[in-house]
Symmetry: C2
Amino acid sequence: MARTQGSKAEITGPLVRDAARRLFARHGFAAVSMRQIAAEVGLQVGALYTYTPDKQALLADLMHSHMEDLLAAWQDDPARPALERLERFLRFHIKTSLERPEAVFLSYMELRNLAPGNRRVIAELRRRYEDALEAILIAGEAQGTMSVPDSRLTTMALIAMLTGVTNWYREGGRLDQDRVVAIYWDLVRGAVGA
Amino acid sequence: MARTQGSKAEITGPLVRDAARRLFARHGFAAVSMRQIAAEVGLQVGALYTYTPDKQALLADLMHSHMEDLLAAWQDDPARPALERLERFLRFHIKTSLERPEAVFLSYMELRNLAPGNRRVIAELRRRYEDALEAILIAGEAQGTMSVPDSRLTTMALIAMLTGVTNWYREGGRLDQDRVVAIYWDLVRGAVGA
DNA sequence: GTCTATATATTGATAGAC
DNA sequence: GTCTATCAATATATAGAC
């Protein structure tokens, strides 16, 4: 028999995660209390522990599922020209960063507040994401369509540059998403000497 | 009469600030207790309050003095070619970031943990620093030596890219500072279409 | 200037009623 | 599944002795 539609657990669980993600991103993991999260959802503290064994697991879970989503959503095709792959990566990264800025910011910033075991796991996932970009730069260099003197440094530089979009972009601001992508693509294309 | 040389206050005060800077940068402001800071310096908690009225003021002071140092140290010459000014800015920014990574990281990340009044002050100083770079990009566009379709976005993108160096650079690692500067300069020069 | 001791508030987490 | 009540730990900050 199917699970009860609209059972409270299936509604409240995601709400708890949403609130935690938002608050952690805005104020930092350590600065947010379980009581604040509960209040944001309209619960009392005790009820949160139906949805997470503890605060640390809540953070780790948010970061973990974000990185898994990211890696699952990124589909590359090594057979295509490297420049085309790079543009797709850029568009993917900016799109994700603007759609889920809190999750991106969390996974980027809160590694230091993870327990060592959790940190290793997330660092490894992040590494795989970085490697996806680096593979494109290496291919571009090999194909002669890019000039990338140090693929590792360039990878880190480009990701830092693109992720920075979460620091200043405001919905409904001066630039819309397509325009942002277009400008970043100009910058990145130039940076890799294409 | 001159102040007593080597009085404890003149030694301990900076030590407190150093410890706080290091710990705040590593674990985040909210995650660090006054007890941890005291222990790092070899004091008991109460003694810290000789050097700061409270924890918030300690953070604000660290960020404030860093930004003031940064702005005082940056000397631009608008009469020089924009490309030359840009290279100097890049060298200055990377040099500072590698010499004082904790201060740079703090001022970049902990705005959110400042009380509103302090936040306004630091945000304004940061804005002035960003404007110093943007002025160079605008001059480059005007001189025809750079192609910068959106000077504000490019400013934010370049600063994010350069500041990212604190995330991965390790003293004694694969690349020394001059090599890092050289590679970043290739990236930046390309990005601004020079 | 630093210590010990302490006031007061808040934290993460648990127990048991409903 | 959520509440109320509570525990033990820890937080910032202050007071007064030395």
